[in-house]
Each structure stands twice: as C-alpha cells, then as structure tokens.
C-alpha cells in the first residue's frame, strides 16, 4: 500500500503510509514535515544578532562564544528531544498496539499496549490553542470496571493530521480490532 498526502491541523503537509504485513497485522506511519532551513537560519541569525548587540554593549568576547555554544547545544537538544520525524502505529491483532515516535536524531521511543488493555480506538475532539481539532486516541480498559475507561492515550500528537487522514487510520484499526470480537474462544471470562 502506498503513501498518500494529507495536511496537518496547522496546514503543513504530512504523508500517511499504510502497510499490511499479514491478515491481522498492519502498520500505519505518519511522516511529519522536515525541519525547514529558513526557520533554522532565522533563529540562528536572531540569536547571533542579539549576542553581537550584547558584545557591543559589554565589550566582552565571551558573549559571542557563549552564543555559538548555546546555538549548537540548543540545536542538538531540539533534534534529539523535540523534533519528531515520524509517528507510527503497529496493530497486531491478539497481541497489541505499538506506538512509536522517531525523532530527527534517530532516537525512537516506543510504547506497547497489550490487546487485553485496549478497550477501543476512537476519534475525539479537543481544544488546542485557539482551534478545535480532531485526534485519534486509544481507550484503555479499567481492570475493575468493565464499562469504565482508565486512561486515554492520544496518538499522532506531533503531526496532528486532519480528519480525512484520521478516518483512514481509524478504519484500518477497527478492521483488526473487530477480529478479536468475532474470535470463538476469547480470553478473560473463566
């Protein structure tokens, strides 16, 4: 299955890639827009201009070297901890759902939620800044109360794709989640 382009909630282009590995295993990956060169140069120039202004006022050359270190350090920290390159969802029927975020520096942070804990995958609305956006989330089962929801895990938080993309992902997930309801011997009730 190929790649299709959509838009994020703020208008930036994102791409959704769907892969079906087997009848009960699907991988859905949303790729976020890359780091723009012009925003990077704008921030660097602003910091260096401010540092040069301080240097002219204080006649201390340490300010300039400090500004260079701050820019380098800040860029490394931004790429390693903040900038998300791709967010993916791996749904394996009867095992669980795995949520991965890959950062721009190559780091990957993964969470695996077992199928027994997953109650449902739904599209919810939320107020984000001055907008109302749609987001996809996994509802976790409350172990004590079969009707209750213990936790809501939001997905695709950095890329924030729009409703059309979310509907595609939702449909793919629900096809696999339905399989566990039609399974003849399901666990849990003994």
């Amino acid at each position: 299955m190929g790649e299709r382009r959509y838009r994020s909630a703020s208008g930036a282009p994102v791409a959704l890639r769907r892969r079906q590995h087997s009848a009960s295993c699907r991988e859905l990956a949303v790729r976020c827009p890359r780091l723009q060169l012009r925003s990077l140069s704008a921030v660097t120039s602003a910091v260096w201009l401010a540092a040069y202004g301080l240097f002219v006022l204080s006649e201390n050359s340490m300010v300039l070297s400090a500004a260079i270190f701050i820019t380098l350090f800040g860029l490394i920290i931004y790429l390693h901890f903040v900038k998300v390159d791709q967010e993916s969802l791996l749904v394996i029927g009867s095992l669980g759902i795995q949520v991965t975020s890959s950062y721009a520096s190559g780091r990957e942070s993964t969470t695996f939620i077992e199928m027994g804990q997953v109650k449902d995958v739904v599209i919810n609305e939320a107020i984000h800044m001055q907008k109302v956006i749609y987001y996809l989330c996994i509802l976790l089962q409350d172990p004590g109360d079969p009707q209750g929801v213990s936790e809501v895990v939001p997905l695709f938080q950095s890329s924030k794709p729009r409703l059309d993309c979310l509907i595609e992902v939702y449909k793919s997930c629900q096809e696999i989640l339905e399989q566990r309801k039609t399974a003849p011997q399901s666990s849990g009730i003994k």
């Binding site: 087997s22 991988e27 009867s94 095992l95 993964t110 695996f112 077992e114 804990q117 172990p143 011997q185």
Partner: protein, 576 residues
C-alpha cells in the same frame, strides 16, 4: 483465534527434534523453551519433563516438532513427525520446519479434536532467551498497586517473562553433557572463574557476621540510659549529624543482615544502599584529603573567628541603623532605644563568648574534620550544624522579636474586640458580645492606642530578624537537600540501566521482520528499557526528613501572626 509461538532465537540453527515449552491456553500462545534432539526415548523425555515441572512449578510439556532439513522436505520425515504427535499427545500439535538456510519457516498445527476446520493464523515471535530470563518486568505504577488480581488475569507478556525466568534450571544443562536427552537452548559461556570474586564471596559471610556484631554493640551503646538524660538527649535531637549517623547505621544493619534477599526489590535496595555508602565514603575521604593537604583546615579555622566577628559587626551596624530613622520611617524613640540596647548587649555577650573559644577552635575543627571519613553526607551535616551554632544569636533575636510581636498582635486583637464591645468565648471558641464597665472600656481603649502606635517599631524589628533567620534557614535547607539527594539516589539501579538496560524492562517492543506470502507473520520481540525517571522513582531509598511541614499559605499566616516557624522537620519528632 490467532496462535502465537514464542521461539528463542538461539534455537534457529538447532538440529531437528521436538519442541518443549509451556502452553498458555487462555492466551492461545506457546512459549518454546528448548529443542530435544533425536534420538530419544519418549518415556525418558516424559520423566525428565515431570521432574523439571516439579522443581520449577512451570507446566513444561512437549508442544510440537521442529525439523531443520538441509535438503528438500522429505515425506517420510514429515510422517514420522506427525506420528510423534500421537505419542506426546498435545492439543494443538505445532510443526515448524525450516528448509536449508531460508529465513521463512513454515508452521502448521494439527488439531484432532477441534470443531472449526478453519486454518487459524500463526504468528512467530522470536525472543532473546538470555535477556528475557534476566530481565525484570516493571508494570506501570497504576496496575502495580492493585493486588487483587489472579494470575490468570496477568498480562500475556508477564506470563511469558515469568515462564522463562522460572525455567532457569532447564537452562543449566550443558550441551556437552552425556545424558539420555540432548537439548538446545540458551547456554551460558561458563561460570565466572575470577579468583577475586570467589574469594570475596567466601569472605562475605564472616565479614557480615563481624559487622552485625559491631553494629549491635554500637547501637547498644547508643541506646544506653547514660545518653538519655535530658540535656544530652535534647542535644542529640537538635544536631542533624546524629540523625544522619543514625540513618547510616540503619543502612549498615540492612546490608550486613544474614538473610538473603527475598525478591528483586529487596536485592536492588541492598545493592543501592551498598553502592551509595561506598560512594559516600569515597567522596568523604577525597574531601578529607583535600582539606588536610597544605593545612587548609588550619586556614579555615583561622578565618572562622574573623568571619564571626564580621557578622557581629554587621549586625551592630544594622541595629544602629534601626535605632536611627531606618528607611526614612519615624520610630518611637524610647522603645527603639530599649530594644536596640538590649540586642546590642546580646551581641556583645556573643562576641565575648566567641573570643573565649578562639584558642580551642583550631583543635576542635581538626578533630571534627577527621569525621569526614565517615562520608560526605556526615561532613555536610557537620557544616550545617556549625552554621547553626555560629548564627545562634540570629536565632535568639528572631525568637525575641517574634515573641514580642506575637504578644503585641494578640493584645491588639483582644483590645480591638473590646473596642467593639465583643469578647472571645474560650468555651465556645467564638466571639460573643459582652457589656464592659466604663473603667474597663477606658483602660482598654488607652492600652489599645498605646499598642497600636508602638506597632510599627516592633514590626520593623520583627521583620528584619525574620528575614535574617529565613536566610540562615534557606542555607541550611539547601545543605540538607544535597544530603538527602546523596542519601536517596539509587546509583546501582542507574548504573544497571546504563550498562545492562535489558535487566530493567518497562515493556517490550516488536519489530516486523521480512515477510513472505503464505508463511506465518514473523516478529522480533525486544525489551523496552525503563526510562531514567521511572528508575529513580521506583528504586529511590527512603530518607528520614520530610519537607516542608507547612504549605505556603499557612507559612505566611504564621509569619503574619508572629508564631515561630520551623520549616524543616524530621520524621519521628513529635508534632506540636
């Protein structure tokens, strides 16, 4: 339902044989632990398995067959393998076969008594046996607190981890052993033969016993009646050094106990305490060597008296300023002079006392500095105590100022009530109206006026001394924060997370391997290590202090009313 087969990656190149492991029926998954090779006698295999089951309490059984053929699939072999299914009856009988060096294996199941003839899907999950055996799964904190769940409800992954961890004894058989049964599973490369490690293990038991004896002696002395008399017990409770030493004594007792650690948490706690003590003593000895080199401690003692003198002089200047017209405010002259002179005399007494002590300071400091070898935390506590002793006069001034101010405020509030014709009913704890006599009203109003006009002077003194006291409290608080950090940081767990991250697992992650149509889905299960924040939160050592006692609003209220504040309170002290 989908059938999940957990296959150890070390058995991928094993010769043909039968698969043994555990079948978890409620999750429809098979955890394969080892492969038994041909030739074998079925009766012996069954005997061996029942013995393993008895020792490990894991229901190990024969799950299926494994065929690794270098040439094309032979028909006779496949029939032979199916016949094995009748000897070791297991439902369902799993057959995995690998052709040549192909990555894609074919996997099928034989169901004799099944009522649905539909081919069920099979997922093949590879796992690293050694890592899964050694790792400890940390459930998320929310589920860890609920303990009323049966083992059946346990998550699938913890069942898999449990199975592999409990079957440790199965992995002890060596492949070169000459026995009736030949197994393939994870093999350790051999027991450590380091002489030093062996010697240390042998020496640890008598060392522990000696340490326990010494510690019981020391704690016996500490608890003796001699030290419990009133002035001494008051002194011990106020000095934070004694608290810290008692805390470390407790830690030593935990380490030197002869009982082996019951479970993972206790083992980690012991290891953390041991490493923390070691690092503490090492840092303390480093500090001591730095202090005693070039006689720095002599220099420190020499500068102590001038610093105390300087502080006293600054205080005198401050009081002279208050006795004048501080910040342009106009004070009541008489009260100002009285208070100022009283505090000045106090400082004069303090300076004389310090000068009396000055010849002995160097010697005392030299010997006290030696106790830094007990640990960096002890040295920091001693520093905090020295600061408390040197600023004792500031504490005294704060208490005087606070008491005066408190009295004034209470007097004012009570007379204000009299002014309005009301009274505080102690029995009912409320304000009631009351009719006063004329002379009572007259005197009350006079006193109220006097107290009101004297309020700014007292309030200013109180403000200045409270600020000074708060400064000292903040400095002491920072030192205690550092001591607590060193005390409670679980260094062993952090180093373990750094070097052997698979030992502390938050969960697992799956990676989809190359697929081929018609073959089962192949996944690789890897261990997802715990984040550093959760490591610290799970394994931090408990400390003896709790802070702060009051919330911000109650602190402000106490400051306003003039009640004495003690922001840092230790556990075990009576709450007043």
């Amino acid at each position: 339902m989908v059938l999940k087969v957990f296959f150890p990656s070390c058995c991928s190149s094993a010769e043909s044989g039968i698969l043994i492991g555990r079948w978890i029926s409620e999750q429809n998954s098979a955890v394969i632990l080892a492969v038994v090779h041909f030739p074998f006698i079925p009766v012996q295999v069954k005997q061996y398995l029942s013995e393993v089951q008895r020792v490990t309490k894991v229901s190990v059984s024969v799950l299926g067959s494994w065929s690794n053929s270098k040439q094309e699939k032979e028909e006779s072999l496949s029939e032979f393998l199916e016949d094995l299914g009748t000897i070791f009856s297991h439902e369902p009988w799993i057959q995995i076969s690998k052709e040549g060096d192909s990555k894609f294996w074919s996997c099928s199941t034989l169901q004799k008594h099944s009522n649905n003839p539909k081919e069920e899907e099979i997922i093949l999950v590879y796992y690293d046996q050694r890592k899964v055996m050694l790792s400890h799964l940390h459930p998320p904190l929310a589920t860890a607190t609920s303990t009323d769940h049966k083992a059946d409800d346990a998550s699938k992954l913890s069942a898999v981890f449990d199975t592999v961890a409990k079957s440790k004894i199965l992995f002890m058989t060596d492949r070169y052993d000459d026995g009736p049964i030949k197994l393939t599973h994870w093999q350790s490369d051999g027991v450590e033969a380091s002489i030093i490690v062996e010697l240390m293990k042998q020496a640890s038991v008598p060392a522990c016993m000696l340490l326990t004896f010494l510690l019981s002696l020391i704690s016996g002395i500490c608890r003796s009646r001699v030290l419990k008399f009133w002035p001494l017990s008051f002194l011990w409770s106020k000095l934070s050094t004694c608290e810290q030493l008692g805390h470390r004594l407790q830690h030593l007792q935990v380490i030197s106990s002869n009982k082996k650690a019951q479970n993972q948490t206790q083992l980690m706690r012991k290891a953390n305490i041991f490493v923390s003590l070691l690092i503490d003593v090492a840092l303390g000895i480093l500090l001591m060597s730095w202090l005693y080199r070039k006689n720095r401690i002599g220099h420190l003692a020499d500068t102590l008296i001038p610093v105390a003198d300087h502080v006293a002089e600054e205080l005198q200047d401050l009081l002279q300023w208050l006795m004048g017209a501080p910040a342009g405010l106009k004070m009541n002259r008489a009260l100002d002079q009285v208070l100022g002179r009283f505090f000045l005399y106090h400082i004069h007494l303090w300076i004389s006392y310090i000068h009396l002590m000055s010849p002995f300071i160097e010697m005392i400091l030299w010997y006290v500095g030696l106790s830094a070898c007990l640990g960096l935390t002890v040295a920091l506590c001693i520093l905090s105590d020295i600061i408390a002793l040197l600023t004792f006069h500031i504490y005294c001034f704060y208490v005087y100022g606070a008491r005066l101010y408190c009295l004034k405020i209470y007097g004012l509030s009570s007379l204000w009530r009299l002014f309005r014709g009301k009274k505080w009913n102690v029995l009912r704890q409320r304000v009631d109206s009351c009719s006063y006599d004329l002379d009572q009203l007259f005197i009350g109003t006079l006193l109220f006026t006097i107290l009101l006009f004297l309020l700014p002077t007292t309030a200013l003194y109180y403000l200045v001394f409270t600020l000074l006291r708060l400064l000292v409290v903040i400095v002491q608080g920072l030192i205690h924060l550092l001591v607590d950090l060193i005390d409670s940081l679980p260094l062993y767990s952090i180093i373990l997370r750094l070097c052997r991250s698979y030992r502390l697992a938050a969960g697992v992650k799956f990676r989809v391997l190359e697929q081929q149509d018609g073959k089962p889905l192949r996944l690789l299960m890897q261990i997802n290590p715990l984040s550093y924040g959760s490591v610290i939160q799970t394994y931090r050592l408990p400390t003896y202090s709790c802070y702060p006692k009051d919330s911000w609003t109650s602190l402000c209220k106490k400051l306003f009313l003039g009640e004495l504040i003690y922001p840092w309170k230790h556990k075990g002290e009576k709450q007043d």
